[in-house]
Symmetry: C2
Subunit: 136 residues, 2 copies
């Protein structure tokens, strides 16, 4: 088990939702094991365990993606390039629609997903550009 | 190179955005290579190439996730369980917030992301439940 002593306050903030609700610690490996007595079908527990693993992978990939776009934002600010790049976004969406189709994912959902991510990235880039060029 | 002859029409539909705009084929591996003469800094091209690789991984993981939730939806419909499960969702969000914090991703964004995915999943589950129990 992992000790909670000396954890940064950010981590405490991340789990505040749970503490407020009086629930058990959220990052409990046992949570993703099939629930023996939880009253749900074993097949459902097995699928949920896979979903939890996929979600952990998604979160870690998203963390890497934002590390890359953070660098992109700093580069764009340094070169005076605009935060948004409609041509690039159009090509990204078109490519992901094809990848999604080939992987059996709804291409429209892939497009919505990328737009959701890009909106967050542009918000970050605007913050970076604003910090680099504060209003006079 | 991959031949486009005999591709299913769904693939053609997936790339219609590009065809309509007169752009080049969207799934072009060269697109993710650093652009020598594109007028963008080489470091930006390198970062974009990594972002494109991460996005392809995200799309494939999402495809797997929806395959799992599709099965969950069918199981729930078969057992008469409701499409949404607020307790499960609360635990998923709390866990992902902690994982996000540890990975350097904004926990609030991780929560928004999961809500975005869950909204789509519930939409699928409701469609499955509706198909299993058509209105009389």
């Amino acid at each position: 088990m992992r000790s909670t002593a000396g954890e940064p306050t950010g981590r405490a903030a991340a789990i505040r939702t749970v503490a407020a609700g009086g629930e058990r610690a959220p990052y409990d490996r046992a949570m993703t094991r099939p629930t023996a007595g939880g009253g749900i079908p074993p097949e459902l527990a097995r699928l949920r365990s896979s979903i939890d693993n996929i979600d952990a992978a998604l979160v870690h990939l998203l963390a890497e993606r934002f590390k890359a776009t953070q660098q992109v934002g700093e580069l764009k600010a340094a070169h005076g390039l605009p935060p948004a790049d409609p041509g690039r976004e159009e090509r990204q969406i078109a490519r992901l629609r094809v990848l999604a189709h080939d992987a059996g994912l709804d291409p429209l959902f892939a497009e919505k997903f990328l737009n959701f991510i890009i909106a967050e990235v542009i918000r970050h880039h605007e913050a970076i550009a604003g910090a680099a060029n504060p209003p006079a």
